[in-house]
Symmetry: none
């Protein structure tokens, strides 16, 4: 647990978003920040009631969404994300762990913020990513965390190659890369 200081009005706002008693600040913030971006469609069409407040908030969120994707468009759709990877150099690295780290480094280079949202990923016990080496260390016995080059992040490293691919594939997919691009990355591990 970490402690942060926030201004009173913000505090009250967050408290007002409590959905059920016993909910922790973390729970509420996680919900509000919705740090995952995923599929979209599905039958959510049934929403009918619309209050003033919602209308506003909804607009805000739309703005958010649009911003986010327009970033995505300029940064990623126009520029081929694969350009961020020097595959021949990567393939020369002596181990899959090294290649894994380089590839993650490339993903971070594409967009640090999208990476931050995408690397929220854990196993049944271990934390996989963190900016804090010790946090990873604390979540498992011998996870062998290593720093991702040119980024503030660390990853777990003590996994078989298949799992390294899964991790990579998850992050890339969460960041919105195309299927064939993800495939290319996973092959390169």
């Amino acid at each position: 647990m970490k402690t942060i200081e926030i201004e009173e009005d913000l505090y009250l706002y967050i408290a007002s978003q409590t959905k059920h008693i016993g909910e922790s600040a973390s729970d509420i913030l996680r919900r509000l920040l919705e740090v995952d971006g995923q599929e979209l469609q599905q039958a959510q069409a049934e929403n009918v009631v619309v209050s003033n407040e919602e209308a506003n908030v909804e607009q805000e969120l739309v703005v958010e969404a649009v911003n986010t994707d327009s970033l995505a468009q300029t940064d990623v759709a126009d520029i081929d994300p694969l350009n961020y990877f020097n595959f021949s150099e990567i393939s020369e690295a002596g181990s899959s762990t090294k290649r894994f780290l380089s590839l993650l480094s490339g993903l971070y280079a594409i967009d640090g913020e999208r990476f931050a949202k995408a690397c929220v990923l854990k196993g049944s016990k271990r934390e996989y990513f963190s900016q804090d080496k010790d946090l990873l260390l604390a979540s498992g016995k011998t996870s062998k965390p290593q720093a991702i080059p040119n980024s503030p992040y660390w990853v777990i490293t003590n996994t078989n190659t298949a799992r390294k691919r899964h991790i990579l594939q998850h992050v890339a997919s969460e960041m919105g890369l195309q299927e064939f691009q993800i495939e290319r990355l996973c092959e390169a591990v």
Copy 2:
């Protein structure tokens, strides 16, 4: 200034959203939550895309809004109980057991008291619900009780999916949900 406690990974996530040095937690959260009110209205009408995320947050806000101003008039019965469930999040859970637990958690959130009355349910030998894990353990060989999140209750978990649906359907029905709502919940298991 107020102090709140949050989980480490969330802390790191928030920190990672820093835009410029010297930015306070409040600044970052305000930006992420978009709560400074203000502008926004304007011709946003043309927005078409609606992500799950928004839809969900919108639903949560509906609950909030209605609760707040309905203190006077109706109460929970009139609000769509389905608003208590974040279906997209639930559907992402990896197992039907997880989904089952989330769904029960939602039912509890709707009304702890009605839940308490509704969860009086047992099999021929096993106790299904209890606030006491050991009581469940004692009533069967390997019932695998698990805690229902954000509630004081435990449920039996070692059942096939069909039975999970039956249990859910029974509780929801006992709590007075409508047929179509119950159906929606059972499908989500």
